[in-house]
Symmetry: C2
Subunit: 481 residues, 2 copies
């Protein structure tokens, strides 16, 4: 059981988002700074969130036939350069190993910013015939992108953790069909586990992943009005399979190149989740992901101490049978002090149990998200707590969905787009003709960008906000983190 | 479903162990070489073994209150140097990042060979009072040790995967008490999941982990007669807590330094397991760890094909309810070809199902380890398969235990030790007085070393094999991988 946290929050979410966010992460003991500039430490309750996201995502991957593997963290420089666009996209952020085992290396080794090149060089030897396809590989690993923008725990760290999925198919049709399967998994993880709503759509060419033909993303909205990209899926076509000779003999005996996709969800998503749900009293962690789901705090005074503690120990055993539950029986802290500490840490549900409750055979459930209290019968505590945790997830998602839609606005013209974005921030739906120069014009005029283009929409009536020509779609536009 | 493997094994385990081992790993598609010299690729069926080891170990860690966390892969050079013995032990094998984000770094960053220094620098800020202890952290990660000895998949790779546990206690008693708990977990994982026997004991001073006061290990025996170290646990005393000021205020208000331990199991253990169990036909993977536990091979000819396949599809659904099971219904391969492929890959149990079995309402179970066949009633197939998998684990462990004890011999004098080791290899129990110069003398005379010293043994009657003085213990001695 850890020490009482240093004093609580001193900044309000609505007043200084950046400082508030940092306080939440540090004071809730979810993460810490490290001696390596720009790299973060995942503390146990922060890492537990990632473990739970990983387990949920991984079991969905396995269900659809994606298998895990592990490739080296090092990429020889010549390999990284093998796909031209790809290396242009990543070279500026690469960390290079130049010395090892006491001597200078003849060739620099990149720390993987992503593993396409090292994986495909090897995988090309594994594939010979159409019978070897599809091959759907994933790895859960650490990657490094040496950014110079201000590092922020979870949201921007030079080293971060993620899944990187890499699949190879015999036909474009099969490859394209994977999009909805994988993005569907990511949507379930973000909505049903992280309680995070978002807009799914296709990135514009200028925002497409380096080396890919098309990128699809889920875009979230941070409380400060900035958009931030969540999980994504990339259609690589045959760009990499031709560069790395990932070829196979088809049923007619012809040589063909594989069609490839890649996809990822990273620990950045945890930062988005905490930023969206947490409040002025500290972190709020959705019940399915919280290291501790329920904390039991006995309310004792000197007369009844032993009796209440004895009952509490029985109660916690019962709760542990169903939930990740903790008994806070520290005797040097007042209940009030304990309440504050667990609220700061974001534990979704508190159970209070005192002498009166003992007499009434009840316990008091206190929700972290609303502060709502109610008494429940001890005989039904497991059922009641399960229901309350579900209710908490539901209202977190509902509240976040409401905030997203309230901060999604429309604009028909460039001046309107500029005005709406400057006044409210958030996400603006704007008609776009599909031309890169109009995209650029909107960017320059507003400092925002096209986040993505919602799928399956009807062609809008309005003309392009930039040039007035027929719009091919309404784009999600906003300033991006 | 992957392609038919290239032809089977061409080398015998007893004739050329090194070449045989490499063939097993590559032909069973467990691992592959990589474009980075000395680093390996974990292919899906090889990585699945690690995932299963991880899950089993991690749930035991969590059960005893060890929590996971994640610290940066980079260690600034000044930090690595903070504990003198420690840096001496690792500096020669470090890979250094000297350039990042397009510019030269002012200070070199080590890729972690192990994380003591970067963890303790941060953790020292988390601990203030005795109430913050014990703190028992673990991380599952990748580490890099730039060795120049011949790389071998799993057994020796410059990057490998492991757990590194790091714990801090208020008293030496509590810290020491952790040894049997953690080594007990490792013993259960190696014996009950990997079917690997070994000798547990304490390392001599000269073999103790850099920076530690004492190291305990499980030592295994490879089929070529060389010993190899398995999981280990280190008592660090206060060496690191003093170097990194991991101090706390005790119940009397006095400042104290924490007592620390560290422990690890790595992917090298998978190589030991495969080397010990596999045979001249390919890999043998213990049932609890194999990605595929049961493969169902339908035996069809043109008349009965549809009927047998239809029944097989029902059967595989039933098996999938209980096991990691696969139906091999590829129609371009003969059953014999399929048998060879799955035997090469080490799947512990094969189920054959043909027209006659369909009539008899039975299936044939074929064990990978013994080749033993028996017919079982379809009505009881789940129970029968479960029993067979348990039996396979049991005989693998029994066979390995027999091999270990048959290759453990005694020697009372230096000439005898030299003779026994030269003639048989394996592990030799030799009386030792505890003096470093006698240990060195034995090493020089034989090319072997003291592996470890079994715990809780009676003082031997014999005198030290090197100097004749009273022996404090019988040491496990052998040539080591």
């Amino acid at each position: 059981m850890s020490k009482p946290s240093q004093e609580g929050m001193t900044v309000k979410k609505g007043e200084n988002f950046d400082e508030w966010y940092t306080q939440v992460i540090l004071k809730a003991e979810l993460a810490d700074y490290s001696p390596v500039s720009g790299c973060m430490v995942f503390r146990p309750s922060g890492y537990a969130i990632w473990e739970n996201v990983q387990n949920a995502t991984d079991s969905e991957f396995k269900r659809v036939g994606i298998t895990n593997s592990y490739f080296p963290i090092f990429i020889p420089e010549r390999l990284l350069k093998k796909e031209a666009e790809h290396v242009q996209g990543f070279a500026p952020e690469v960390a290079w190993v130049t010395q090892a085992g006491g001597s200078e290396l003849e060739e620099r080794l990149a720390i993987r910013p992503t593993s396409e090149t090292v994986m495909y060089e090897v995988v090309s030897k594994w594939i010979r015939s159409w019978r070897d396809l599809p091959l759907r590989l994933n790895q859960w690993n650490n990657v490094v992108r040496w950014e110079f923008r201000h590092p922020t725990p979870f949201l921007r760290s030079r080293e971060f953790l993620w899944n990187e999925g890499h699949s190879m198919f015999a036909t474009r049709e099969e490859a394209d069909a994977e999009r909805d399967e994988v993005m569907g998994i990511y949507r379930r993880i973000t909505e049903e586990f992280m309680a995070l709503p978002g807009y799914m759509g296709r990135k514009t060419k200028s925002e497409t992943f380096a080396g890919a033909e098309a990128t699809y993303s889920i875009e979230h909205l941070l409380p400060d009005g900035k958009a931030i990209q969540g999980p994504d899926w990339h259609s690589d076509g045959q760009n990499f399979s031709k560069a790395f000779d990932i070829s196979f003999v088809d049923e007619d005996g012809e040589k063909q190149f594989a069609w490839q996709n890649t996809w990822a969800i990273s620990t950045r998503e945890i930062g988005v989740m905490l930023a969206v749900h947490s409040d002025d009293r500290g972190a709020i962690i959705p019940p399915k992901l919280s290291a501790v789901q329920v904390v039991l705090v006995p309310i004792v005074n000197d007369e009844n101490k032993e009796a209440v503690l004895a009952e509490s120990r029985k109660l916690i055993e019962k709760l542990k049978g169903h939930f990740r539950a903790v008994l806070d029986d520290r005797d040097h802290l007042t209940p009030g002090r304990k309440f504050n500490e667990w609220e700061l840490k974001g534990v979704p549900l508190r159970v209070e149990f005192g002498p009166r409750d003992m007499k009434e055979r009840q316990a008091i459930l206190v929700r972290r998200d609303t502060g709502g209290k109610r008494a429940v019968r001890l005989a039904e505590i497991a059922k009641e707590v399960a229901g309350e945790l579900e209710a908490i997830h539901g209202s977190l998602f509902e509240r976040a969905t409401k905030a997203l839609s309230e901060n999604t606005r429309d604009a028909g013209t460039l001046p309107e787009l500029k005005r709406v974005l400057a006044k409210h921030g958030g996400i603006v739906r704007v008609p776009w003709c599909g031309k890169a120069e109009c995209e650029a014009k909107m960017r320059e005029a507003t400092g925002g960008k096209i986040l993505n283009i919602p799928m399956d929409q009807k062609q809008p009536k309005a003309g392009c906000a930039a040039c007035g020509a027929d719009a091919i779609s309404l784009a999600n536009f906003g300033k991006s983190y």
